[in-house]
């Protein structure tokens, strides 16, 4: 799960990290009021879950309250990479001497949290990583012992020469590591970490991604989720305990298991179709889940046919079949559906499906080919009943 910059910097501030003063606004009037209370030039920053905001024109400097009004007006409602800006952060502007980068991620290779620092921070950090990886210093931290003070100082010394700056940066790195663990983060990032003319080190941007598996014990952070910034179908799927990703094709897919769901989508593409979505109904076979899945997929106007592929293990095929029958009765789909159920309780499932006279296929390849055929048939106007 992603949280916004203003939420991340609140977590930073609470951990005792130095961040500029500021607050979040949803209207021009709110933005102006925050700027007035700060009584200084400010930055107006779009709050969207996407990188490259600055380059897209979503981060602007405002000398006075009047300028804040102008920029707030422009940025609120702006479209950045397909996302509409609904919130802006009004943050005290500071004079910048140097820009550095500090980040912590889960590293799959070392199986440890890895801290990365670079003196070449700022908006081009990804380019620095790609072209001059020697400018990025990494440390894999022992997850049981945690980050030691000397390690943090060592990392900080890669950023600055002045011991006063090194001490401040080391303190920030230690606190950042603490935020990382306490928030069940999968990524925390300060870019840039800046120095000011009067010798202060400051985090002027904040990014935190949370490990979804940790959310069950992160009540406060879970509440930070911004439903507005997500695809409504994906929100509905999550509430129904389904794993769903919207795509642009015409073949709706309902599958059990993430790997098999991906493989099914790949085969759709392989045989010349385009998948409309990734959808994993998970291990349990609650008929209600099938109904929710079907409702989500049928609400997508691009979908021309629905493919259901179930390999029963823990999932029992008869449960899924009951869900399909239920969905059929309740939603009365107009588009063709083709089903392949194999594995646990397969024969009972076939009997149940006969009741609604659904098209079925025997193998993975055949169910995919049939779904594509039905979708194409529909396009020339013969499939819709």
């Amino acid at each position: 799960m992603k949280i916004h910059e203003y939420q991340a910097r609140e977590l930073f501030a609470r951990a005792g990290m130095p961040v500029p003063r500021g607050n979040v606004a949803t209207t021009v009037a709110e933005a102006a009021a925050i700027a007035e209370s700060l009584a200084r030039p400010v930055m107006v920053k779009a709050q969207v879950h996407v990188g490259g905001r600055g380059k897209a024109g979503g981060v602007k400097y405002a000398e006075n309250v009047e300028a804040v009004r102008v920029w707030a007006q422009k940025i609120l409602g702006m479209d950045i990479k397909g996302l509409t800006v609904k919130k802006i952060l009004i943050s005290e502007a500071v004079d910048i001497v140097t820009e550095a980068y500090v980040g912590i991620i889960i590293d799959r290779v070392t199986k440890r949290p890895v801290i990365m620092v670079s003196a070449a921070g700022g908006i081009d950090i990804e380019e620095v990583a790609a072209k001059t990886p020697e400018k990025i210093f990494k440390l894999a931290v022992d997850p049981i012992l945690g980050l030691k003070g000397y390690q943090a100082r060592d990392l900080a010394s890669k950023l600055y020469k002045d011991i006063k700056l090194i001490r401040q940066a080391a303190d920030i790195i230690l606190k950042l590591y603490d935020v990382y663990w306490k928030a069940d983060a999968s990524l925390v990032e300060i870019n840039p970490l800046i120095t000011t003319p009067d010798g202060k080190v400051l985090a002027i941007d904040a990014k935190i991604n949370i490990d979804d598996n940790g959310l069950f014990r992160q009540k406060e952070i879970s509440a930070m989720r911004d439903i507005d910034s997500e695809n409504p179908a994906e929100v509905a799927a999550r509430e129904g305990d389904l794993s769903f990703v919207k795509l642009d094709g015409s073949i709706g897919c309902i599958v059990n298991g993430a790997g098999l769901a991906m493989a099914t989508m790949d085969l759709v593409k392989h045989y010349g179709g385009e998948p409309a979505n990734f959808l994993d109904i998970g291990g349990s076979s609650n008929p209600q889940k099938v109904l929710t899945a079907m409702r989500i997929i049928l609400s997508d106007p691009n979908v021309r046919s629905v493919l259901i592929n179930i390999f029963g293990g823990i999932t029992r095929c008869d449960d899924v079949a009951n869900g399909i029958v239920m969905a059929y009765g309740e939603l009365k789909p107009e588009i063709p559906i083709v089903v392949r159920l194999t594995g646990t309780n397969e024969s009972q499932a076939q009997k149940i499906l006969k009741e609604v006279n659904l098209k079925s296929a025997d193998t993975l390849d055949n169910v995919v080919k049939e779904a594509i055929r039905l979708a194409n048939q529909d396009e020339i106007g013969t499939g819709r009943i």
Binding site: K111, D142, V245, G259, L260, M262, F278, F311, L364
Partner: protein, 336 residues
């Protein structure tokens, strides 16, 4: 022969009184697994399907000499369950639980490594050594005994691949799902090394998916250290970047971990990659016959008599294998 588990494996089931634990304890027992104990705190003295239940893993190990633990407890308690199993002295821990926080798993990984314990999972279907032992949730009826090792990051996709092999008359030594999370105890290389050393395994199917670079590392390992043929499948060619495709580990981030990169790495290492799981048996057969020809070339100098004796032996072994596979398929069909 097999890897990681066999006839001698003695299993303790953590979370045996839960819905999943009790169901799969019975399923494992039915498969022939030596399930010696179950653990649920506060339920000592009771039994589940005839299996004695203990309050702690330590008690269970003391009483039954269990050497393997399988974990079915909810995600909030899974990490504690792994530590408990590790401290109780089992040598293999299989964690089925899905949804374990990654940062907790990093601590677990470090701890069990220093103790020399093997962990499989979390978020995995477990493993089956055909005809010997099943630990986890894989449907036992789709597997038959044979020469192919199967390793995968997925669950149901693994079943699909195993089923394709079985239907084509290719049985398996051990089938293992290593799990779909970012931090897992056993990776492809750990498993491939075991398959290479296992005398019964003659070829390996490796099923990967998007995210991380485990497949790329495995490809290098195959090229440099394996003599047995390996064929592959990679799921997620159509996955968009930045989206978690169900599994916590299946995410393309920062442009790395794509299916295209993985397919390229596998092919560069001489591992043919199937477009559909149903293509796997054909690729395995091709690779195995190539390997046989290669082997035959090496042994050409052997005297005629010895050669005839050898090939006769091989032929009988092969016929036996085919018979066994056919029998197993019939059995499954009947069960259905």
């Amino acid at each position: 022969m097999s890897i990681f588990i066999n006839k001698k494996t003695k299993v303790v089931v953590q979370g045996i009184t839960g819905r999943d634990g009790s169901f799969h304890a019975a399923q494992m027992k039915q498969y022939g697994t030596n399930v010696v104990a179950g653990v649920t705190p506060g339920k000592a003295g009771t039994t589940v399907d005839g299996i004695p239940v203990f309050d702690s893993v330590a008690d269970a190990v003391r009483a039954t000499k269990a050497n393997t633990s399988v974990i079915y407890v909810p995600p909030a308690f899974a990490v504690d369950a792994i530590f408990e199993a590790a401290d109780a002295g089992v040598s293999l821990i299989v964690c089925i639980t899905e949804g374990v926080p990654a940062n907790d798993m990093m601590k677990v990984y470090d701890y069990i490594k220093t103790k020399g314990i093997r962990m499989i999972g979390p978020n995995c279907p477990g493993l089956i050594s055909t005809g010997q032992s099943k630990v986890g949730i894989m449907p036992g009826n789709i597997c038959v005994k044979g020469p192919v090792g199967v390793v995968s990051r997925s669950g149901t996709l693994t079943y699909e691949a195993i089923w394709a092999l079985t239907c084509a008359g290719l049985g398996q030594t051990t089938c293992i799902g290593i799990g779909g999370d970012q931090i897992i105890g056993t990776n492809f290389i750990d498993t491939l090394r075991e398959f290479e050393a296992d005398s019964a395994t003659r070829a390996v199917v490796m099923i990967g998916e998007i995210g991380g670079c485990d497949e790329e590392e495995a490809a290098k390992f195959v090229k440099n250290h394996m003599t047995k043929p390996v064929v592959g499948f990679i799921a997620g060619r159509t996955a968009p970047p930045g989206k978690r495709m169900g599994h916590a580990g299946a995410i393309i981030s920062g442009g790395s971990g794509t299916a295209a990169e993985k397919v390229k790495a596998l092919e560069a290492a001489g591992i043919p990659v199937a477009a559909s799981p149903t293509e796997l048996p054909m690729l395995i057969k091709q690779k195995m016959s190539e390997a046989r020809k290669h082997q035959a070339g090496k042994t050409r100098k052997v005297t005629g008599a010895l050669k005839a004796k050898k090939s006769a032996k091989k032929a009988t072994a092969k016929a036996g294998l085919r018979r066994a596979a056919k029998k197993a398929i019939k059995k499954t069909a009947k069960k259905k």
